[in-house]
């Protein structure tokens, strides 16, 4: 799994995830995202899921964990370009009750 991080204007942190998001790579994704969040203190974290070819419930933890972190800094979060299978798992976990889907 690779993460492409873009610091957009107006405090939007855009991150594009690519590859398989499982427990094995969750640690690394989490670390990269948290570094970017702490460094840029964005108003909005936007996760672009278009390139995610596989995700299991480990992905729920990654998204929820970043949501908590950014919320504690007063920011918000959204996920965009969510592939159908990822969407199914996010819905199962009731994620869209707290995180916007762009």
């Amino acid at each position: 799994m690779t993460t492409q991080i873009h610091y957009a204007p107006k405090g939007v942190l855009r991150v594009r995830l690519e590859g398989e998001l499982d427990h094995h790579c969750a640690f690394q994704v989490r670390r990269e995202l948290d570094e970017a969040i702490d460094w840029s203190a964005p108003a909005v974290l936007e996760l672009d899921m278009a390139g995610v070819t596989f995700m299991d419930s480990s992905g729920i933890g990654v998204v929820l964990g970043r949501y908590k972190r950014i919320k504690s800094q007063g920011g918000s979060m959204r996920v965009v370009n969510v592939p159908p299978r990822v969407d199914q798992i996010f819905s199962m976990a009731g994620l869209y009750a707290i995180i916007a889907r762009g």
């Binding site: 398989e20 499982d22 427990h23 094995h24 969750a26 989490r30 596989f54 299991d56 419930s57 480990s58 729920i60 933890g61 990654v62 929820l64 964990g65 299978r85 798992i89 199962m92 976990a93």
Partner: protein
């Protein structure tokens, strides 16, 4: 051993780098049943959950082993993921959505729920201190 069905049984160390490997193996094994892309993804996701659980929860120390077994017969795949780890005291509770004993490592507690929603049958046998077996069945190419 079964002679009529085709089967496989594999042992791998309980290490996170084997999660992706287990998905490739079950995917290649299941492909002989000619599943749809969707069915194949269901199987890989469920197996990924069970294997990840054995890696995350079963063993306190490194060196533990995970067994992945599968049986194929027309229109039906059966998979078992076994560990010889700590076991689960209360299986009913463990299978509840959002129940997790590892919130500190960002486990969501949704592993069993994902398995149940992607497979046709999920059975968990566990004995405290002796290990856990997750047995799952997926029907393939059958109308719902």
């Amino acid at each position: 051993m079964e002679q009529h069905k085709n089967f496989m049984q594999m042992e791998i160390p309980a290490r996170s780098e084997n999660e992706g490997f287990a998905r490739v193996v079950i995917g290649a094994f299941a492909s002989r049943l000619d599943p749809t892309m969707e069915e194949l993804a269901d199987i890989k996701t469920a197996v990924s959950e069970a294997v990840t659980n054995a890696i995350v929860h079963a063993y306190a120390n490194p060196g533990g082993i995970i067994a992945l077994e599968a049986w194929a017969e027309p229109h039906r795949l059966e998979v078992a993921v076994r560990d010889c780890g700590r076991g689960i005291d209360n299986v009913t509770q463990a299978m509840e959505p959002f129940y997790t004993t590892s919130p500190e490592t960002e486990r969501s507690g949704m592993g069993f729920t994902v398995m149940q929603s992607f497979m046709d049958e999920v059975e968990v046998h566990s004995q405290s201190g002796h290990g856990t077996t997750v047995r799952m069945v997926k029907r393939i190419g059958c109308e719902e």
